[in-house]
Symmetry: C2
Subunit: 470 residues, 2 copies
């Protein structure tokens, strides 16, 4: 049988694949969307969305503590973890349904193929049913899967990842969260707020992706008051006689009902037979690709989203999908400038990273401004004045390079900063913007003043905050 | 006795006066700060700060309702209004003390004169003790006072304004809030959350300073579910036989324990004898002044902050103080470009106005993009998905002109927008910025896409969200 021919084949109907399709479809090219396994995006099914619901419940529970500060007697809230998980699933189902009903649910069998595919050649795909598709261009957007060490798989239902946490009927009494990047830290803190006895473990000394040692220290100090953080040692897990799990890390040890593995995510490439592309594969199985065009080598093959293992973030998957989709359906393959890096860990306080991170900075040319949240008026009023924000600027030009923070409303401040960095503004430019009162943005303003004092280039005119006329 | 001579006299040690001093002091000019009545700024004493504390308590109380959504039994919180007011005063005192200890507390008698002053000539001032000061330049920064109709003063302690609300020992059982601008709406809603029976009344049909009829409608609909809003009729207040107050507005009538007058603020100019300046005074008693230099006519006299009645906002008072301070101590009087207008009413949802307001727009050249918050993912998760945001752009160029909103995290979105408008960015420019997921900024993104579709100028290149390379 002759392979069926299409102009563009997209492997994966997650976020990156659907964004790719949004550029392929209007081009008039013929296309097929091939997706083995679940439909619905990682984000909506097991990622951003259900985790934020759990975090929100946790935060609301945590916030009750404020009534004591006001001098009010506050009654007990009876936490019902089964109800909480039902609520998480209700909202998650709404989000998944919304994605599906806008995409795969409305596609005919000619366009949507619910099967896994593998490469036979760079432009020849074989489906599970043995049929073949010849595509002039192929987009790999197969997403990613939580990393789980092989040895842990024996723990069966005592091992949780984001794939199954939200499917639980009840929460465990105790859990060790192993891996305290964004996902582990968010989930660990939320479970702690929901009354689970949480032990957080990471072999790194930082949490939530923090790179700046001062931010990392501040975050560990604040969150470490809520649940124990064991940092700097890898976790070892062994089964106890009673079926519980003993987790050892360095000299510490705890027995828990379950473990939550948040060791990162690995691109879903195993089934694809990427050897057939005839290019070298990296240690994580990802072939070299151009991050501005998403093209693999000079093949008519593109790789976008979590499948390439670089930027596991929805908005980046969106951009990569659009780029891959455009290039897979255009005459000429072109590159695009990528957006200013932005990372948010939605723990409390938010841990955020914007622009160049600490490790990327040329320290000799960088000035750092900072603000501690202790005396920040609005933060005091909110009772959330534990935190630190640091902004990095070029010592000479005053151009803003990056920022990192562990603070209340970090997610919002990070957007402000990312937008300014993308525009290549200087710290002096930012000080001319309006800062209302009393708002958390005033904390950023304080950090900017601190930075401004340390850079060489000052605003022209007699008033830093205002542009002279005429 | 000869008048004492100084280079610069500042009347008023509130925010505008202190910011003015921050520019006068380093100039090396001789100066005196003259302040009758309270020290401590309006903001810290009776304005932004204590009101935000009350709002925060109210919001925390209100938020308990979310536990029902999660399926949790939530115990009752016993609201103790005496404790709440104590907490407000505790924090307020901290803020006032901070202002005073950084300013007037450390000044000697030569520099700080705790008396009222009046003009004899534009550069000659008379103090309460009869002594005179000849100042080469004078800055009027005497602040403002709540407007109270004369007839209402007879209600004595049944009449509250921001001047006395925070001094109460307990909150009343019922109150009519008369005037639903920023202050009235914030206080009214906070009192409602604290269990006070609130009736809100305004002769306008909008609340919280909303100018856009759609935003106004949305705000009234959302907040009107919490307490009755009687709009479009002036309030009449009469004393009942039992000492309570009857408030009539249009055909409606309510009997309350107290009224809260939030009818606006009036510049504190009565004691100044501004007639001695020899310039015409406006109907509110304010002489004509240049808003870029703060100069009154061509006199060596400047007027800054709430005393000039234009921008009753701390950050604007800061700018006006700095401008007046600079011009009062510099050789040459110069103008400065004022910042992009930004107004936030800290009610829930926040009502915010940025840039050009609805009434100022040239409707024929304006396109409007909007987003309803109902389906916004993060807002759904927060349980705060009632709201509306509208962005205004130039129909041809796509340049962002302004925005208005009644929505969760409006205060943060308003900063993002104000900073972009001040940089004269277009809607297309904004769509190229990173929007994380899931964040409230994505609601703004949706409104921007809506606007983008309606403007003529599109981003170059095949992908709206990205800049092509090379």
């Amino acid at each position: 049988m002759q392979p069926r021919h299409v102009d563009v084949a997209i492997l994966g109907s997650g976020s990156a694949g659907l964004y790719a399709l949004s550029k392929v479809r209007p081009s008039g090219k013929s296309w097929v969307l091939i997706n083995g396994g679940h439909t619905g995006t990682t984000c909506a099914r097991v990622g951003c969305m259900p985790s934020k619901v759990l975090i929100q419940i946790g935060e609301d529970l945590q916030r009750r503590g404020v009534f004591e500060r006001y001098g009010f007697d506050s009654g007990d809230v009876v936490i019902d973890s089964a109800e909480a998980l039902d609520h998480v699933r209700d909202l998650r189902d709404t989000f998944v349904e919304r994605v599906e009903s806008n995409s795969t649910n409305n596609m005919d069998a000619e366009h949507f193929i619910p099967q896994y595919a593998r490469f036979l050649e760079p432009t020849l795909l074989e489906l599970e049913d043995g049929s073949q598709i010849r595509a002039d261009r192929v987009i790999i957007a197969t997403g990613s899967t939580p990393v789980v060490p092989k040895a842990w798989q024996a723990f069966a239902d005592r091992l949780l990842t984001t794939d199954d946490l939200f499917e639980q009927e009840e929460l465990p009494r105790s859990i060790a969260v192993i891996g305290l990047g964004a996902i582990g830290l968010e989930i660990g803190q939320a479970l702690c707020h929901l009354g689970v006895e949480v032990t957080g473990i990471d072999q790194l000394k930082s949490i939530g992706g923090a790179r700046d040692p001062e931010i990392s220290k501040a975050a560990v100090e604040i969150i470490g008051k809520e649940f124990p953080l064991w940092l700097g040692h890898a976790a070892e897990v062994v089964e106890e006689a009673n079926g519980k799990l003993r987790v050892n890390a360095g000299e510490r040890s705890v027995v828990v009902d379950k473990i939550f593995a948040s060791l990162g995510r690995r691109p879903n490439l195993d089934r694809l037979n990427l050897q057939a592309l005839g290019v070298e594969l990296g240690s994580n199985g990802v072939p070299a690709f151009n991050p501005t065009s998403m093209q693999i080598g000079d093949l008519p093959v593109f790789i976008a989203g979590a499948a390439n293992g670089v930027r596991n973030l929805l908005h980046e998957a969106g951009d990569e999908g659009r780029i891959a989709g455009h290039n897979a359906s255009a005459e000429k393959i072109i590159g695009f400038r990528r957006k200013t890096p932005l990372h948010i860990t939605f723990c409390n306080p938010n841990i955020c990273q914007v622009g160049a991170n600490w490790a990327e900075l040329n320290q000799a040319n960088t000035a750092v401004g900072e603000v501690k949240f202790g005396p920040v008026g609005r933060a005091m009023i909110m009772g959330k004045n534990k935190g630190l924000l640091r902004v990095y600027g070029d010592k000479h030009s005053g151009r803003l390079l990056g920022a990192e923070m562990a603070c209340v409303k970090g997610e919002n401040l990070a957007h402000l900063l990312a937008w300014c960095i993308q525009q290549e503004l200087s710290v002096g430019d930012l000080l001319r913007m309006p800062f209302y009162h009393p708002v958390i943005e005033e904390a950023l303003q304080a950090a900017l003043y601190d930075l401004y004092a340390k850079v060489e280039t000052k605003n022209p005119g007699p008033i830093t905050e205002l542009i002279p006329l005429g």
